[in-house]
């Protein structure tokens, strides 16, 4: 306990010098950003600490708490003092060890506990009976605590709420969960201060507002560390005689060139963009270098947890020469033996690329090197674009979710399960959050009404029951079965229906999407988790397999793992292509690209950033129109649909659409009046919203979004992994629910949310509008081709095709039948 006779400032000064002494004893020195954080915390401020991983960010806030304790005349040892949120369970242990080290070294009688999905029931009960002083947890577990009776008491002593890796959470609904949790805690713990820790993102100021709320009851500070990581990008180029393919996305042609890189470093991480690509690369590396057997491994989200844990452990101990992985290893604890990182194919974003580069070489001050292996020729342009962006420290923004009514629905029921809520008070609380600041009282009450009545006026026949009003005027959920189901469903990460893959004789291999398995027949061979497996049968939600003695098998495709090129990257890319158009071929990569771009020029044109190139081509199959906005695949998907819809107003047509990150294709078996359409000015953003709604009339996109919304808001309940809960009679697919709600209740708030999310995230409306603005100053150049150009070819071979028709569906079917006949 600090000396009562001293002033607060003196006591704090003493405490800080103890801490600095501790650093000296360890042979370290406190960073300026750490000291700054302590001072601001002691002043009662809140904020964000912007520091890279491995720079001692845990100590910036861990010691802030400790200094306050040491300088207090009435140190608090009772009750929960600090919550530390981490997005990744795997990081909890490391944080626990760091925090335990300091409380032990300073002899503080505190407990540090971890609570997440892996925590046993008995440990959870222990934590409830006697709260630890520091709790390390996840957004989901925080909400589970809010769903238990007596939470107000449990949290009331809380002083510091830390959100680690906030940049990871902000762009997801888990971020909204944090905002909602904090809105409640700010009322029940008046002393609470919130701090975030974040890597550099394009919108740090906004990220701070989101975390701290816009009410600004305390002073908000953004503390930036001056520790910069240097990253160098090294392209892997084919030898002179070889050519890079124009399209495709595997890159295994260059695999041999990776071998010497693996040779010279202790451990290498090889990042791929999709799980199927990881499977293919893993087996290919073993094919070309059989010596690697036993010293390389694979790591992706569908591989069994135990296997992944083993791979991580082996990496730690330096037992593995290389690991082929996906974004599953983007985050997480550091692996010291990793010296080199290889990126296969476009990383799509600068921040993600930096993060991956940062997984190598942990010695401070030294630069990280990352090898970039292009899977097709055009990706080479991205390589130098990436280096430019990294040098200028341009990172993407992570846009926060707003007005997510599904998360709010879940939250309101969470409060209903525990202590109930008073709508007026809850509205006041959530109004202060960034996510719901624009929610009107009327909309809020509509949602409450929706939860209370199940979407309609209660009739005599109706047995609907969810929230009821208690004597104190609070809404509570009394039904125990429903409460139990709600607790099991808390969270915003909705996974696909996955089946466990197991050997017939036992032994878990991983999990796989039902979609893929449904296409397999008995005896089929598929490649999974680096093995060739023979499909036997599906039994009790498990895929039973045995090792296959065949040589080859199909590789499962996992849906939803393709990211669009970020807007930052797109803009740098357009600049780069402009340079090439102006004959500025610099460096080795550019030399390599020269023949390809000469061919583009010969067959068509190299578009500069002030030109929109449109190519027309007639082939045996039909009529093609290629357009190159260079805005990323999602924007292209939206543009393609919009354009197809508007051209369809001139002439009813059926289109097949395909797109990549550079452009898109409209394809039809009849001639497309593109010149006429451009002359009539179809490329404008007036009536964008309406035209988009009409062109995505099938609602397919919204239906896809609704899948998550339905699960988060509790409209579908999928049971719980490993728990056999009988819910068969209340199971319906989200698409069926979507259909019935849309047909009968189009004003349903959750249906509207599905459409909003489509605009915001699937069609990237903001980017789309930015493109139209840019277009106003651009020239449109239309070229008639005789042969595919290098830019058009990869789009043509893109497998995923969307389609759109302005013919009436029924006419189309009739025409289609004629085609078949």
């Amino acid at each position: 306990m600090a000396d009562k006779k001293l002033t607060k400032v003196q006591r704090e000064k003493n405490a800080i010098s103890y801490v600095e002494h501790w650093f000296e004893e360890k042979g370290w020195k406190a960073h300026a950003f750490q000291k700054k954080t302590w001072k601001h915390y002691l002043k009662g401020n809140e904020g964000i600490v912007n520091a890279p991983t491995g720079s001692g960010k845990t100590y910036s806030l861990g010691f802030a708490m400790l200094i306050e304790y040491l300088s207090s005349t009435k140190p608090q040892n009772h009750g929960l003092q600090m919550i530390w949120i981490t997005p990744l369970r795997a990081l909890s242990i490391e944080i626990k060890q760091s925090l335990e080290r300091i409380i032990q070294d300073f002899d503080i009688p505190w407990q540090v506990a971890v609570r997440n999905g892996d925590t046993s029931t008995s440990d959870r009960q222990k934590q409830r009976r006697a709260a630890p002083q520091i709790l390390i947890t996840t957004p989901e577990s925080l909400h589970l605590l809010l769903a238990s009776k007596g939470y107000t008491n449990y949290f009331k002593h809380l002083k510091l709420f830390v959100v680690d890796e906030w940049h990871e959470l902000i762009g997801s609904k888990r971020g909204v969960q944090i905002e909602l949790g904090l809105s409640r805690l700010r009322t029940i713990c008046p002393k609470l201060r919130t701090w975030g820790i974040s890597a550099t993102i394009g919108n740090l100021e906004e990220a701070m507002q989101v975390l701290l709320g816009h009410a600004e009851t305390r002073k908000q500070v953004l503390i930036k560390s001056n520790i910069k990581k240097k990253v160098k990008v090294i392209p892997i180029l084919p030898s002179e005689s070889e050519k890079l393919p124009w399209g495709g996305h595997l890159g295994i042609k260059l695999a041999k060139q990776i071998l010497p890189i693996l040779e010279k470093s202790t451990s290498t991480l090889i990042f791929t963009n999709t799980r199927s690509q990881a499977e293919i690369w893993y087996s290919h590396l073993l094919d070309i270098q059989p010596d690697l057997a036993g010293i390389i491994a694979m790591h992706h989200g569908s591989i069994a947890k135990e296997t992944r844990a083993w791979v991580e452990q082996a990496l730690h101990e330096g037992m593995l020469k290389a690991v082929v992985c996906t974004s599953s290893l983007d985050l997480g604890v550091d692996f010291r033996p990793v010296e080199t990182v290889v990126q296969i194919g476009s990383p799509k974003g600068i921040a993600r690329f930096m993060q991956r580069a940062g997984r190598s070489n942990h010695s401070p001050g030294k630069q990280s090197e990352i090898y970039f292996l292009p899977t097709n020729a055009l990706e080479l342009i991205e390589c130098s674009a990436l280096q430019d962006s990294i040098n200028q420290n341009q990172m993407e923004a992570r846009l926060p979710y707003q007005l997510s009514l599904d998360v709010l629905t879940q939250y309101l029921i969470t409060l209903g399960v525990s202590e109930g809520f008073d709508p007026k008070q809850t509205y006041e609380e959530i109004q202060k959050t960034y996510a719901y600041k624009a929610l009107t009282l009327e909309e809020f009450m509509d949602l409450v009404q929706f939860i209370v009545t199940g979407g309609e006026a209660l009739s005599g026949y109706d047995e609907y029951k969810k929230l009821v009003k208690s004597k104190e005027g609070k809404y509570v959920l009394e039904n125990r079965r429903q409460a139990m189901r709600h607790r099991l469903g808390i969270g915003t990460i909705v996974s696909d229906v996955v089946l466990q893959v197991k050997f017939q004789k036992g032994g878990m291999i991983g999990s796989i999407e039902e979609y893929f398995v449904s296409k397999l027949k008995r005896g089929d061979t598929f490649q999974f988790a680096g093995r060739l497996l023979e499909f036997i049968r599906i039994k009790d939600l498990q895929v039973q397999v045995k090792l296959s003695n065949k040589k080859e098998g199909v590789v499962p495709s996992w849906q939803g793992s393709r990211m669009p090129l970020s807007s930052q990257m797109s803009s740098v890319l357009r600049k780069k292509i402009t340079q090439l158009a102006n004959n500025e071929f610099k460096g080795k990569e550019d030399q390599f690209l020269m023949p390809l771009f000469e061919l583009q020029r010969e067959r068509s044109k190299i578009p500069t950033e002030n030109e929109l190139l449109i190519e027309k081509l007639k082939t045996r199959d039909g009529y093609h129109v290629f357009i190159y906005p260079f805005e990323g695949r999602l924007v292209h998907e939206g543009l393609a649909t919009l354009l197809a819809h508007r051209i369809g107003q001139i002439k009813p047509l059926s289109f097949s659409l395909s797109y990549n990150d550079y452009g898109f294709e409209l394809y039809s078996d009849q001639e497309i009046p593109i010149d006429e359409a451009i002359n009539q000015g179809v490329l404008h953003d007036e009536d964008l919203f309406n035209d988009m709604v009409n062109s995505i009339n099938s609602g397919e996109l919204a239906k896809r979004k609704f899948r998550d919304i339905a699960a988060i808001s509790g409209l579908v309940f999928k049971g719980y992994p490993g728990k056999n809960i009988k819910t068969k009679h209340i199971q319906a697919s989200s698409s069926l629910i979507f259909d019935v709600l849309e047909d009968n209740n189009p004003n349903n708030p959750l249906i509207r949310q599905a459409y909003d999310e489509v605009f915001q995230f699937e069609l990237e409306e903001i980017r789309l509008r930015t493109f139209f603005n840019r277009l106003k100053t651009m020239d449109i150049v239309i070229k008639q081709l005789d042969k595919y150009s290098p830019l058009s070819f990869p789009i043509m071979v893109e497998r995923i095709r969307g389609s759109l028709s302005t013919e009436k569906l029924i006419d189309r079917i009739k025409r289609l039948q004629e085609i078949n006949d």
Binding site: F450, I451, T453, G454, G455, E456, S459, Y461, D462, E463, Y464, K465, K466, L477, N479, R481, Q482, R485, G622, S654, S656, Y667, S668, D669, G714, L715, V716, F717, H729, I730, A732, S733, S735, L736, I737, V740, L741, N744, N745, G802, S803, S805, K808, L809, I810, R812, I813, K814, L816, Q817, I819, N820
Partner: protein
Amino acid sequence: MINELSITFGGERMIVNHLKTVFIPKTKQLLVSDIHLGKLSHFRREGIGIPNALEEKNFERLAQLIEHYNPKEVLILGDLFHSVYNSSWQLFDQFCNNFDTISFVLIKGNHDIIKASHYESISNLVVYNEWLNNGFLYTHEPLEIPTTPNICGHIHPGIKIKAKSLPAIKAPCFYLTENQFILPAFGVFTGAMTLKSKENDQVIAIIENEMVRLK
């Protein structure tokens, strides 16, 4: 408006329509399958908010069909009611009462597990496990090897239509083989299972409320 198509099955002329039912003019029978009444109420009892108004849509459509065809008999090919008893049953009770000149016949389906007394209290309702009538064998589940012309439901048949350069469309359908006629599910809150059609089988799909003979 009801969109219709005339077909022949088991030597009998029948009319199929976009509301997923079949009318046999000679016997004045209306055939309906898999209504799944009460499914919504089940969801609602568990606190899942799907509007109950949909249930009424089932009855509105049924009433529209009765008005249109003026049948003597309404034959329900199973899964009339979705599992455990709930208040939606009273709506059906009321409905039968309103059309007391029509006799209702239920072929019991796997979901029809409510107590027999509920059926007995409706005077114009008869219940069978299967029923041989007018040369047709009515069952809920399709017979594996039908020897008599078999009319049934249960599987909620649907079909995927796919062709070059156009996306696949899923649609509910009537499915006919030489000796079997499977009806699509009538209920508003039911899905459809995609079938692979075999050669010689007839498929009539319902696309945007129109009837399309696919084979």
